[in-house]
C-alpha cells in the first residue's frame, strides 16, 4: 500500500476537497483507493455521498473496540473510504491531539497489511489543518505528504514564516488565473528553494461547491470542468511520482 497525506496550511484551503477529488481521480485511472478521514470535521464523507444521519466511522469504531476497518464504506463510484465518525471518544476532551491522531494512524498503517486489499492500493489521508508551530501531522509516516495552500498573500506569508517544512510538497488550490497577484504569488512559491511546489495548480472553479451541494465530486457532476481536469492531471502526476520513489527504493 502507498500512503499519501494531505494537510491544509490553514483551515478552509480545500484539503478535504483535494482528498476526495484525488481519490476519485486515481480510482478513475484504475487504481484501488482507500480514503481515510483523520479530520474531526468529518466532511470527507459528504463528497462521497454518505447520508447525513449515518454516524459511524473511525472514532465510533475505535470507541466501541471494534476493528477500525469495519467502518469502511464504498461510494457509488467505487471509492473506498473510512469517515471520521461523529461519536465522541474519551480522548476527544483533549481535542484529538496530534499524538493521538499519529498513534491511530500508526496502528491503522500497521493493521492495514492484514486487510484483503489490493497490493497497490493507494491510501489518501485527510489531516486536520496545520496548527501554529506544528510540524506536518504524518511526517515520516507516509510516502508523500502534500501541504494544501491557496495562492493568497495570507498563505504565502504563513508559508514563508514556516519554511522550511521538511518533507512537504505544496499543492496550490483555488488559483484565480485572472488575478495577476495570484499568478505572481504562484510563481514566487514555485521559485522558492525552501519548498517544493507541485507543477500543477488547481484552479478556482465554481463547479466544485456546486458538486458538493449534490454530494458529489466534479467527476460526477461536471466532468468537463477545469477542476476535474486539474485533479486528473494532479493524480497522474502523483502516481508517476510514487512510481519514481519506488524505483529509487
Amino acid at each position: 500500500m502507498k500512503w499519501i497525506a494531505l494537510q491544509g496550511l490553514k483551515g478552509g484551503v480545500g484539503t478535504t476537497t483535494a482528498v476526495a477529488h484525488l481519490g476519485e481521480a486515481c480510482h478513475r485511472q484504475g487504481r484501488s483507493v482507500l480514503l481515510l478521514d483523520l479530520s474531526p470535521g468529518n466532511l470527507l464523507r459528504i463528497y462521497l455521498g454518505m447520508p447525513w444521519e449515518v454516524r459511524r466511522g473511525l472514532v465510533p469504531a475505535l470507541t466501541a473496540g471494534t476493528p477500525w476497518y469495519q467502518a469502511a464504506y464504498r461510494s457509488a463510484s467505487g471509492v473506498q473510504f473510512i469517515p471520521f465518525g461523529v461519536e465522541s471518544h474519551p480522548l476527544a476532551e483533549q481535542g484529538y491531539s496530534r499524538s493521538v491522531l499519529r498513534q491511530w494512524f500508526r496502528q491503522i498503517r500497521q493493521e492495514a497489511a492484514e486487510l484483503q486489499l489490493q497490493e497497490d492500493t493507494l491510501c489518501i489521508v485527510d489531516c486536520p489543518a496545520l496548527g501554529p508551530g506544528e510540524d506536518l501531522l504524518l511526517q515520516d509516516l507516509v510516502e508523500l505528504h502534500l501541504l494544501v495552500v491557496n495562492p493568497d498573500p495570507g498563505c504565502f506569508a504563513s508559508l514563508r514564516q514556516r519554511e522550511p517544512l521538511p518533507g512537504a510538497q505544496v499543492l496550490i488550490n483555488r488559483l484565480h488565473a485572472e488575478s495577476p497577484l495570484e499568478c505572481d504569488l504562484q510563481d514566487m512559491m514555485m521559485a522558492s528553494p525552501a519548498v517544493q511546489v507541485l507543477p500543477v495548480a488547481v484552479q478556482q472553479d465554481s463547479h466544485v461547491p456546486e458538486s458538493l451541494a449534490w454530494k458529489q465530486t466534479v467527476f460526477q457532476a461536471a466532468p468537463a470542468s477545469q477542476a476535474a481536469q486539474d485533479f486528473a492531471l494532479l493524480a497522474s502526476w502523483m502516481l508517476s511520482q510514487l512510481r519514481e520513489t519506488e524505483h529509487v527504493a
Binding site: A177, Q186, D187, A201, D205, H207, A222, A224, S225
Partner: protein
Amino acid sequence: MSLEALRHWPGPLWWLMGQLFRLPVPWHQQAAMYRWWRKWFPHVDILHPRPLDVIRIPVQVLWLLLVIPPGARKPWPRIGEWLRRLEHVSIGMLVRVFSTENPGPVAKKLHSVMREMVEHPLWDQRWFRWPMLLLGLAGAILVVTVPYELETQLWLLFALLLAALLIRRIPGRLPTLVLMAISLLASTRYLWWRYTTTLNWDDSLDLMLGLILVGVETYAWLVLLLGYIQTAWPLQREPVPLPEDESLWPSVDVYIPTYNEPLHVLKPTVLAARQMDWPADKLNIYILDDGKRDEIRRFAEKVGVHYLDRPDNRHAKAGNLNHALTKTHGEFIAIFDCDHIPTRSFLQTSMGWFFKDRKLALVQTPHHFFSPDPFERNLGTFGQVPNENELFYGLVQDGNDLWNATFFCGSCAVLRRGPLEEVGGIAVETVTEDAHTALKMHRLGYRSAYLSQPQAAGLATESLSAHVGQRIRWARGMTQIFRIDNPMLGKGLNPVQRLCYSNAMLHFLYGIPRLVFLTAPLAFLLLHAYFIHASAVAIVLYVVPHIFHANLTNSRIQGKYRHSFWAEVYETALAWYIARPTTVALIDPGKGSFNVTAKGGLVEKEHFDWTISRPYLVVLLLNLLGVAFGLWRLQAGDPREIPTVIITLLWTLYNLLILGAVLAVAAEARQVRINHRVGLDVPVTLILPGLHRVQTRTVDVSEGGIGVELPEKNLLSPGQRLEITLFHGTRPHVFPVVVANVFGHRAGLRFDHLNVEQEEALIHCTFSRADAWLERDRDRKADNPIESLGEIFATGVRGYGAMLRHIFPLLAEKLPILERMRHFLWQLLPRYPVNNERMYP
C-alpha cells in the same frame, strides 16, 4: 436498388386509391404521402403536375432503382473514390511493389552484405582504392557507350529495374547512393544514345527540333546529376548548447525590415522577437521601416523597440539592411521578414554553432509557412502533399550544408557582423541579395550552417499572381548572379561549393525546358517531324530506364519533402513566367524590373485566373489538337508508324494531365479570413459566468481569434462575452473573448480588444512557443510514386472541371441559348432523395 423507397409503400398506395376511387383519405395519411413523395421525387410537385413530369418521373424511378446505392449521400462518387476502388483491384499490387514499408528478408540480408563490403579494411589501402575506383569508372563508361542490340538493351533494362526495385527496399544511405549510380548510368546511356544515333543529320527540320530537344534533355541530365551531388548526404546538423556563463553570450541585433506591410502583419513578429530567450541587455530589436510611417514609429515606441528609417529607399531591402548595419553595433544580426514570427527559442537554438566555429558567418533556419501558398490552397493539398518550399528547406539546404554551401535566404537567419561587413554588407548588385551575400562570404573562406528545425513561421504569399511574381524575382536574381558572379569562376570556393551554387542557379532555368517538354510531341503529331530518329521500340527501351530510375531515385531521396511528379506541376505552372526573365537576365543581367511581393491580402472571390493561365490554355489547345491529329494518324496514317504515334500520344496524355493540374492551380479558391488560422492543440479554459471553469482544447488560432472544442453542445451562444485562459508554461494568461460562432462541438471565439500586454501574452502562448512548428508534418504519409500519380490524376481532372465550370458562365453570356439548353436538360435530370422530415406543402 433502393429498398428504402419501398418500405413506405402503403403511403403511395393510399394515395393512388384515393385518386382512383375518390376515397376519403385521412389528412395525416395525405401528409405522410406527400412527404414520401417529396423525399423521393424532390423535383416533381405532384400537386401541380407539369407536362414534362412524364419524362421526369420514369427517369427518376430508373435512377432510384438502378443507380443510387442505399445509404449513399452524393449522387456521383468522387474521382478519388473511384481511384481507390480501382486501386484495390489492380493498382494495389503496383502500390505494394513500390512501397518500401516492409524491407523483407532478402533486402535485410543485402543490407548487411553491403555494410560489410563498405566497411572492409581493404578500402583504407590506397593501392586498392584507386584502382577499384578507376575500374568502376571504366565499367561505367563501358555501360554508357557500348551499343547494344535491342534485345540486349531489353535485358539491361530488366537487370537495372530489378536491381533498383530490390535495392530500394534496403534502408539506409548507402543504397540511396547505389540507386543514384544506377540512375546516372541509365540516364547517361540514354543521353549518349541520343547524341550518337538519334539525330537525323539529313533533314534540317528534324535536326533542328532534335537538337533543341536533346539540348533540353542535356540540361535536365545536368540538373539531375548536380541534384544528386547536392542531396547525396543531408547533414542534419543538431543545435549546439550555448556556454553556461551568460556573460559570454554576444549581443544580437534583430532586424525586421518592412516596406508597406500593415501593422497587424508586423506586430506579432515584433512582439515575438522581443520575447526571444536572450539576455535583455544584449538583445536589440530594430524595425527598419522603408515606408517611413508614423504609425509604425509610434508602435515601436509603445512596445519599446528601436525604429530606423532612412532618407532614401535605394536598393530596396538590401539597402535598408545595409543602412541599419551602419547604425547598430551588435556582434550578430538576426534578420526576420516582417511576417516571420520567431519562436522564443530561435536564438538559443541557432547561436550555439557560432561559439563552436569561429569562421562561421551564417546560420540559416527554414522558412515555415502556416498559411497555404496559392498552389496548396487552390489544389487543396495543404498539409498533405509537401509544398514547393519544402524540398528546398527540408532537403536541398540540408544537403548543401554537408558541402558548406548553405546559403542565406533573406530571413530567419543569423549573420556574424564581421564577415558581413567584410563583403560590404548585403549585396546590392542582384535582386536575390541573400544568396549573393552568402556566395561572397563563402568566397572569403567563411562557413555557413543550416538547422532544419523551423524556428519561425510566416504567411505564404496570398494570390497566385503574387506567388508567381516572387518566383520570377528569385529566378531572375539567381540568373543574374550566375552571370555577374558565376560560382564556377572566381576564387575562394571549393569544387563542390561551385557545383551546389551552380545547381541552385541552373535550377531556375527550367522555364524553357519545361515548355519544350510540353510541346515536343506536337512536333511529330502536328508537323510529322521525326525529331528522335529511332524506332519506337528503341525509344521505349532507352527512355524507360532513364525516366524510371530518375523518378525512383528522386522519390527515395526527396520522398518526405516532395512527392513524385509534383515537381512537374509546380515547375510547369511557373515555366512560362520565368522563361522570359531568366533568358533576359542571362543575356543582359541589368535589364528588367522587380516587384515587392504583396502579403496579407485576400482572395475575395472564387475565380479562375484567366490571365495567369492563358499561355497554358494555348498549350492545352495545341495538345488537344495534337491528340486529334494523333488519332487521325492512327486511323489514316502509315501502319508502320502506329507504335510511334502511340508513344507520342501517351506522352501528350501525360502532358495533358500535368496541364490539368496546372489549370487547377489557376482556379483561385476564396479566402475568408485575413488572419490565418493555424492548427493548435493546447489546453484552454473557458471562464463561464459565476466563475465556472471548463477546460477544453483549442483547435486553431489566429491573431484575431481562436477555435475551441466544446465538451457540451450548447455551452456557448454566439455573441456571449467570456474570458479564456491559455497557458505559457505553468503561467496562466487570461484573454477576453466574444463568441463569434458555434457549430456543434466547435466554437469560434474572437478576441475582444486586447491591450498590448495581452497581445504579447497571446503570442507567447501560441506562435512563439518553442515547439510551435516542430510537428508540422506529423500526419503526412511518405511518398509512393503510384499513389502520387493518382493524386496528380485526380488534381488534373479537377483542374479541367474547374476550367469548364468557369468557362460556362463566360460562354453563356455570349450565347444565351446555351444557358437555356443547360437549364432545360438540368431540370429533366433525376435528383437525389431529400432527407428532410419537415417537408410540408
